[in-house]
């Protein structure tokens, strides 16, 4: 089958916020309407849907996107990259012409709710929890703590570098009116924030909220006729290197993001030197550090000093997480990085715009699995 070049033509968010009281369907509907409006498309133009969170068929039916030629519900996966990549592949292959891809994320119970017994985490579907929970292992924050300990042991990163990172991200968020956290942040604020699972502090974590995000992929030909400049999917890559037990990863300092990055660069003539901005998943800040190294945007083991030297700031060598990152815009599970990359490449990022941005990489996942996508306007 002849592969078609694929473009992103519409992006949108729901009313993102803390415990919004809105349902998953409501977030999906708001995000979908925003993305359709952004693209100048109507629901019947959509003939494919993919999601993590909720059900793609349900959302499409609710929104009048009928009939569908392609659909996909994604389970546990490296965040938004999975429904996004499959949407792009479906369009490239001709299984669908225009696909809407969702990530619907509902805020999880807090530590206070869980420890008071008023709420429980979702029950695991496989038996490995039997070797985790009896030791007091419940939360991704704890896995991140172990990964961060080992990463700091093997690299040059220090807690001071993570403080620099938090400050750099907040500086972008202060330039983003859609960020949930916009007040000034100092390194002392970071260092005095409580540990959740040491070395992970509160400000190393993404910010819990309800969110809906949607992105539309279509062919180059259709993209040329729509109202916004086309942002093309240059290439994308996945990697999975272990099962889902982050706690037992064979190499916590070099997780699947490294294999994924190698796969990405092997699939394109674009090189790390061509990248104008990077949008790198920050569910925990150590994740962004590993992506910076893996994608060869800095030297091996040097993400900490690279951040501390200001390279990820606006005007730096590699502006990174220019919407402020999920620690500031709220947990949109990587969809924010896809959408921010689109905004940057369209020149729509306002005060935080990277000048002449033509190539952006966005990346999701960490630990056992990872995915990345390269976008360009060239």
């Amino acid at each position: 089958m002849k592969q078609r070049r694929v473009a992103i033509v519409g992006v949108g968010y729901s009313q993102v916020g803390r415990n919004t009281g809105l349902s998953e369907r409501h977030h999906a509907a708001q995000a979908a309407v925003a993305a359709l409006d952004d693209a100048g498309l109507k629901p019947t133009d959509i003939d494919g849907a993919s999601t993590w969170g909720g059900d793609a068929i349900d959302f499409a039916h609710m929104l009048g996107m009928q009939p569908l030629r392609w659909h996909l519900n994604v389970g546990i996966s490296p965040a938004f990259i999975q429904p996004a990549m499959h949407a792009a592949m479906a369009v490239a292959d001709g299984h669908a012409d225009t696909v809407m891809s969702f990530r619907i994320m509902m805020q999880q119970p807090s530590s206070a709710q869980l420890s008071s017994g008023k709420a429980e985490l979702g029950q695991p579907s496989m038996s490995d929890a039997s070797f985790m929970m009896p030791y007091g292992d419940f939360s991704p924050t704890q896995w991140a703590g172990m990964l961060m300990t080992r990463y700091m042991h093997e690299s040059d990163a220090t807690e001071d570098h993570f403080a620099d990172f938090a400050v750099a991200q907040r500086e972008y968020a202060m330039k983003n009116e859609n960020a949930l956290q916009r007040s000034p942040l100092s390194k002392d604020d970071y260092l005095s924030a409580p540990f959740i699972s040491k070395p992970v502090r509160l400000l190393d974590c993404d910010y819990p909220c309800d969110s809906g995000s949607a992105v539309i992929f279509t062919t180059e030909e259709r993209a040329r006729d729509l109202k916004k400049p086309a942002v093309f999917v240059e290439t994308s890559a996945l990697a999975a290197t272990s099962d889902m037990n982050f706690e037992l990863l064979p190499d916590m300092a070099h997780t699947a993001v490294f294999q994924c990055a190698d796969n990405l660069w092997a699939s394109t003539d674009i090189t790390p030197a061509d990248v104008d901005c990077a949008q790198l998943y920050d569910g925990f800040s150590v994740i962004t550090f590993q992506w910076l190294e893996a994608l060869k945007l800095c030297e091996a083991g040097q993400a900490g000093p690279f951040v501390a030297a200001g390279n990820t700031r606006l005007g730096g060598a590699m502006p990174t997480n220019t919407d402020g990152g999920a620690c500031n815009v709220g947990r949109r599970h990587g969809a924010n990085f896809c959408i921010e990359a689109v905004h940057q490449l369209r020149g729509e990022s306002g005060e935080r715009q990277v000048s002449d941005a033509e190539v952006a990489v966005w990346a999701n996942g960490f630990g056992p699995f990872a995915g990345a996508m390269l976008l360009s306007t060239r």
């Binding site: 017994g117 991140a144 172990m146 300990t149 540990f195 699972s197 706690e247 037992l248």
Partner: protein, 146 residues
């Protein structure tokens, strides 16, 4: 405070032998009877030789520290009065990267060192439910960080 039970493992064919061993003070790890590979977490098949002939065997209980985190927030009622505690990923010495999740006990934070020698310490969290935790193995000082 009302008695709160610790979180317990589900009782399944693949997990029961391990937890029965723990109650007897024995650390049992699944091992392939064809190629000799230790397997943890327990699986129905050996990833090395694809044999289904697997059984549980006692190991030495010695390990080295691969990584750790000090958990300050409770994510379950049982742990409310137990934070902070040290969750750790350790390598059992029987095989390279025979990675095992556990909790460390009786080690001061300043003494936590990646690569340090550890030894199993079974602790009964409630009657009839023992878990293999790990403590510093003073008789086998660490040879150096791994």
């Amino acid at each position: 405070m009302d008695h709160v039970s610790p979180p317990k493992p589900m009782s399944e064919d693949l997990t029961a032998p391990f937890w029965e061993g723990a109650n007897q003070g024995r650390l049992l790890i699944q091992r392939c009877q064809q190629c000799g590979r230790y397997i943890h977490l327990p699986r129905p098949v050996c990833s090395n030789c694809l044999s289904f002939d697997l059984s549980f065997e006692q190991v030495s209980g010695r390990a080295t520290l691969y990584s750790y985190t000090i958990t300050y927030r409770a994510f379950h009622p049982y742990y409310v009065d137990k934070v902070p505690y040290v969750l750790a990923s350790v390598d059992l010495i029987e095989q390279p990267k025979l990675r095992f999740l556990t909790r460390l006990v009786d080690i001061a934070e300043a003494d936590l060192k990646i690569g340090m020698d550890l030894v199993v310490d079974f602790q009964e969290l409630e009657p009839g439910f023992a878990v293999p935790l790990f403590k510093s193995n003073h008789s086998h000082p660490a040879a150096g960080a791994s």
